[in-house]
Symmetry: C2
Subunit: 187 residues, 2 copies
DNA sequence: TGCTAAATATGATACCCATCATGTAAATGT
DNA sequence: ACATTTACATGATGGGTATCATATTTAGCA
């Protein structure tokens, strides 16, 4: 049955929302088109009215979730604390798209890869802008180094099944980044 | 046809070798049992003589590749340089199992997760031991922080399709880790 | 030297998935 | 109000995958 224009737009948004959660949680390959549609409250048939292929869904979902994620621009310390929290580790579906999807994007389409690249470029720039107390060279280095450590720590913490070690990875990485930023700005 | 005991042992080793390369390159889901067997020079039929299931292959491959990978214990600077090199970034199939597989392990069996956990625990310990000039608390923090940054940087660099930015992520992370370790040991 | 067990090959089987074909009903424009 | 368009539902289709069944060949042993 046909639905109103706004209904269709909302359906499309809901598809992208649930797809972004499912992809972050389980990876691109492990999520089927039918599963996405069902999670959005629809059936698989309508899918190709919205997207030309699953690859197209992946590319558009990436653009959608990266556009929505403009985190890291405000209070950097608070952002780092939240990023390296058990809560974020345990919430891949709702968490950082880089931590959830970066490793999975190597074999996706050029469009998807390019979208991810621009998302990463922006994210590094945002973190750099949140470090105004550093001179430009230190700022760039601290932004990239901290971001790499944050993403790596969350991926490692999610891979570990021992809660104590997993917590320790998050906590020690937080302390390491903190020391790195403070010492550069003090030097 | 039946083969000799040694031939069978060699076949098994070759299956684990090619599986570890394929899994690191494409992820667990994207590699089929038949593909692994073909890459090992066999057909799919013999697979269940060696392994009870694909999950079993994944678990045994992880144990195999983590046991083989005892890197990071020697000259730490040289190890970090090699880890954060374009060569390692471009060689996922032959590279670090953590960078290639950690993000993919979240939905694998408990056995596989536990194997990965022990591999990560050893790796962190090895890096810590390679930092004897630091006192114990700094050493642990530097080991975990550096390792997180290394893994994160390689994953991010592999996700980026702009060579200049990808190289920069590796290079700046190297400089960031270097500064972090030096400053702690100088302080 | 011949018997038997075992390792691998060939060939099902049952299931899941992306995509397509067609039906249906409701929104939209006149 | 009505015709038409269209968004979604239901129901194929073709291909891939994990796993199983059976055949074949030969190593290992008596």
């Amino acid at each position: 049955m046909k639905v109103s224009r706004e209904q269709m737009a909302e359906n499309r948004r809901r598809i992208l929302d649930v797809a972004s959660r499912l992809f972050r949680d389980k990876g691109f390959d492990a999520v089927s088109v039918a599963e996405v549609m069902k999670a959005a409250g629809l059936t698989h048939g309508g899918f190709y009215g919205h997207f030309s292929s699953k690859d197209d869904l992946i590319a558009q979902t990436l653009a959608h979730v990266l556009a929505a994620d403009s985190s890291g621009g405000g209070d950097l310390r608070a952002y780092i604390d939240a990023y390296l929290s058990p809560r974020h580790r345990d919430n891949a579906a709702g968490g950082c798209p880089t931590a959830g999807l970066a490793a999975d994007i190597r074999h996706q389409t050029p469009t998807a890869r390019s979208t991810m690249t621009e998302g990463l470029r922006s994210q590094i720039d945002r973190i750099g802008k949140a470090l105004p107390e550093l001179d430009p060279a230190d700022r760039r280095r601290a932004a990239i180094g901290s971001w790499a450590a944050m993403v790596g720590a969350v991926i490692i913490a999610r891979a570990i099944d021992d809660p104590a070690l997993s917590d320790e990875v998050l906590e020690q990485t937080r302390a390491w980044i903190d020391a790195g930023i403070s010492q550069v700005s003090a030097g």
